[in-house]
């Protein structure tokens, strides 16, 4: 019982501390002093990053190399896009990643860098810069202990390539079978979300009377939405039930090539279930005045 009371008392104290700490912060107190809570000012924050990791132990002479993209380079730290900051050695050497010589590049955001860590001090003693991505060397786990601000060493699933896809271009053959009523002289097109749903975005080539084909290249991981048309949205494809359909979806896999076979069952302007007579009102004198063959 006493322990429970004690725990509650501690919890109350912590809550009070939380309330006090948040009272004088950025938005709640325009005239307040601290624009942003510092990890050293408030008990709300977690314990500051492990300063012991950045303390300067005796140099060991061991060098660990790690490649990544810079977020920033300032105030004695190099920040990588993982969100981690690494302390720079006072005598850090900046050079070119390809030649090892002097470079005109400046360490700044979006520049790729290969950092050489002194395992003894934990600081970066050399920063080799490049405008292009550098090959991986040491793993993040090897240099994690040197980070001042830790983050998670995984690729961003939103901004990077989709998981499992390498992004290489994949030739995709779209092969579509059209309905028998398709006019012989009409063209078949592919309309995609990538082309703003233009009904004439990609013209297909005739294979035979009922088949059309086109080859387009997409990066693996691409999620493509598409539909078939005869050049306008009034002549777009319909589903097997003769009704409007949602766009077809194709996710491009990691493959050397891909063949996508589709079937168009009906065209919107040739729906067999709608009236043939409604558009032309028959009159006693002129029931179907100039019966035009279907290709016109």
């Amino acid at each position: 019982m006493t322990d429970r009371l004690r725990r509650r008392a501690y919890a109350l104290i912590v809550l009070l501390a939380l309330a006090l700490a948040s009272a004088g912060t950025f938005d709640s107190d325009p005239a307040g002093a601290a624009p942003f809570p510092s990890p050293l000012e408030t008990t709300v924050m977690q314990t500051p990053p492990p300063l012991t990791a950045t303390a300067t132990p005796p140099p060991s002479g061991q060098i660990i190399k790690y490649s990544g993209q810079l977020l920033d380079y300032r105030d004695g730290f190099a920040f990588f896009t993982t969100g981690d900051a690494f302390r720079l050695d006072p005598n850090v050497k900046i050079d070119d990643a390809a030649t090892g010589g002097p470079t005109k590049l400046v360490p700044e955001t979006r520049i790729y860098a290969r950092a050489s860590f002194d395992e003894g001090s934990g600081g970066i003693v050399e920063l080799a810069l490049s405008r292009t991505k550098l090959p991986d060397e040491a793993s993040y786990l090897d240099i994690k202990k040197f980070a001042v601000a830790l983050s998670t060493p995984f690729a961003n699933p939103d901004l990077g390539r989709s998981e499992g896809f390498n992004g290489k271009p994949v030739p995709v053959t779209f092969l579509v079978e059209v309905p028998p009523k398709t006019p012989f002289s009409d063209e078949i097109y592919l309309a995609t979300d990538a082309s703003g749903w233009s009904a004439t975005a990609v013209r297909m080539d005739r294979v035979d009377a009922l088949h059309y084909r086109v080859v387009r290249s997409f990066s693996s991981g691409t999620r493509l939405l598409y539909r078939y048309t005869r050049g306008s949205w009034q002549s777009a494809d319909l589903g097997q039930d003769g009704l409007a359909i949602k766009p077809r979806v194709l996710v491009i896999p990691n493959a050397d090539y891909l063949v996508k076979r589709d079937t168009v069952y009906y065209w919107q302007d040739e729906n067999p279930f709608t009236s043939d007579n409604g558009s032309t009102l028959p009159t006693p004198f002129n029931p179907v005045p100039f019966n035009i063959p279907p290709h016109h």
Binding site: T82, E108, T109, D205, D208, G242, P247, L281, P293
Partner: protein
């Protein structure tokens, strides 16, 4: 003012006002300025990239930095390098700022007094807590060496709606860039956002004016051989894949208003409404069509109503899907019952009809490397007014690849139309049909056979031959020839007896394809040669 015209004006006003209202009700716009702002609409990630002296204004906040990457599909914004966030009580310095605009979650890497990452929500710094960012939150897509779709120094983004650049420069692989004072690119991925209700044109270049996540208003520059260069204005409202409302106005030459509306009421049941008002037509100004379509497991039914000026018609259809009989042949059947009201018609203004349609198809077969298909369609319509139309159409198509790059296709089609009245001759005259001795005349002066045209079989024969030479990639030369032989032949109506067209397609750059076509008609409406050109540019 007719009811339909009032409806048209109301729809236009409602549609455009709603579009503007949507624009005002959208989430706050985000203003991006930088030394360079590029827009990269890739299929898997639509990116806005800014480099050099980046200034991002959203709400009361201003975010400054060296670079910005914004995935506009996922609404993830990352600003890196010398980041400053101002607009609050005081400034905040940092190294990187990443914000999910959809959830309001943001992460800031600060440096004072030592580097640390903080999570904040809705930019409310009082709720900031220290801790690592989610995996790779600050990663940025590598765009070096890639050409943007358009670029500028200033972009205004409506999240989920559109990107507007002022001005907008469109770089090309080689040669000068095209620059426009402003350009709006819609981010809406809905398939109906590109619809237009305006009549078809040979050339139609849309220019978006306003965009929201559920609407797009655009002006169109159009060309067609009848009206020449014309302008159009249209607006689309979309509700996912469930519904859309598209309105179009051609305000100047041959002015007209068009409306298309579509809704999926439930799976298997949908309705469509189209309406047109022709401002300058002296005879028929209003056209309206409504269709309710239901598809079940075995049959599909359609109820349709049409209004053309003062006349109207209604019809009920029931049909089967295409059935395949052991890969020997396929068939499809349809039956219909309809009513027509023909304003001013003599002797009857109202008429009922029944109809049927059967389509039989043969599966493709290959003989001597030639691919053959065949189909036969039979249809009939019987009116209460003693009149019947029966039509049978046979179509055979052959295709053969001569060499890997040369292919040949041919189609032969015969159609016979038996169009007759079942009354006696006396009855025909009594019903007002023209007597054989005084036929009507077609607009081109050709004697219109009138009654005699329907007393026997009409025969339509068409022969089509198409040869295609495929070059590298998209390059192609295509020659198409038609020969039509009809009985009776109405000059000026129907197909020209002879028609030849030549189309040349050439890909100039990886992103530009040019199509040039030229066609000739012979012996049609007393014109022995009527050449036409077509020209198109496509990505």
């Amino acid at each position: 003012m007719s009811v339909l015209r009032k409806l048209a004006f109301a729809a236009v006003a409602w549609s455009f006002c709603t579009g503007v209202a949507f624009a005002e009700a959208m989430p706050s716009k985000v203003d991006v300025r930088a030394d360079s702002v590029g827009f990269f609409p890739y299929a898997n990630a639509t990116l806005l990239a800014a480099d050099g002296h980046v200034v991002v204004r959203t709400g009361t906040r201003t975010i400054l930095g060296d670079a910005m990457r914004w995935d506009l599909q996922k609404n993830r914004l990352v600003v890196t390098g010398n980041v400053r966030i101002v607009g609050g009580p005081s400034e905040v310095d940092g190294v990187a700022y990443a914000r999910n605009l959809a959830t309001g979650e943001a992460y800031v890497v600060r440096i004072d007094p030592i580097p640390a990452t903080f999570a904040v929500r809705y930019d409310d710094m009082s709720s900031a807590r220290e801790g690592p960012a989610p995996p790779g939150y600050f990663d940025s897509v590598d765009l070096d060496g890639q050409r943007p779709y358009m670029r500028s120094h200033h972009a205004i983004v409506t999240p989920g709606g559109s990107v507007r650049m002022l001005p907008a420069e469109f770089p090309t692989a080689a040669g000068p860039s095209l620059t426009l004072p402003t350009y709006l690119y819609t981010l809406v991925q809905n398939q109906y956002i590109a619809l237009s209700a305006a009549p078809a044109a040979s050339f139609d270049q849309p220019y978006s004016l306003f965009g929201t996540p559920a609407s797009l208003t655009a002006a169109h520059l159009r060309y067609d051989s009848t009206n020449g260069v014309t302008e159009a204005l249209d607006n689309r409202l979309v509700d996912g894949d469930k519904a859309y409302l598209v309105t179009s106005v051609l305000p100047f030459r041959d002015s007209q208003f068009d409306l298309h509306a579509f809704e999926v009421i439930r799976p298997g049941l949908q309705q469509t409404l189209t309406a047109t008002h022709l401002f300058g037509d002296p005879f028929v100004r209003d056209l309206l069509s409504y269709q309710l379509q239901e598809s079940g497991k075995l049959l599909t039914q359609t109820i349709q109503f049409n209004q053309v000026g003062p006349s109207n018609s209604a019809e009920f259809d029931v049909g089967t899907y295409e059935h395949d009989i052991k890969h020997i042949f396929g068939y499809q059947l349809k039956a219909s019952y309809g009513y027509d009201h023909n304003y001013g018609g003599f002797p009857y203004t109202n008429d009922y009809r029944v109809g049927g349609d059967a389509l039989i198809t043969a599966p493709p077969i290959t003989i001597f490397n030639t691919n053959l298909t065949a189909k036969y369609e039979e249809s009939f319509t019987a009116y209460d007014y003693p009149h019947e139309i029966t039509t049978g159409t046979t179509t055979v198509t052959a295709g053969r690849k001569i060499t890997p790059s040369v292919s040949l296709f041919a189609q032969v089609q015969f159609e016979q139309s038996d169009n007759h009245y079942s009354d006696l001759a006396v009855g025909r005259v009594a019903l007002g049909l023209p007597p054989p001795g005084s036929p009507y005349y077609a607009p081109d002066g050709t004697p219109y056979p009138g009654y005699f045209a329907y007393s026997g079989l009409n025969t339509y024969r068409s022969y089509e031959l198409q040869s295609t030479i495929n070059g590298r990639g998209d390059d192609r030369v295509q020659l198409t020839m038609y020969y039509n032989h009809d009985f009776p032949q109405f000059h000026g109506y129907g197909p020209a007896p002879l028609y030849v067209s030549l189309d040349i397609v050439r890909r100039i750059t990886p992103s530009l394809r040019i199509e040039v076509g030229r066609s000739y008609s012979f012996g049609w409406d007393r014109q022995y040669l009527s050449p036409q050109y077509t020209f198109g540019i496509s990505p």
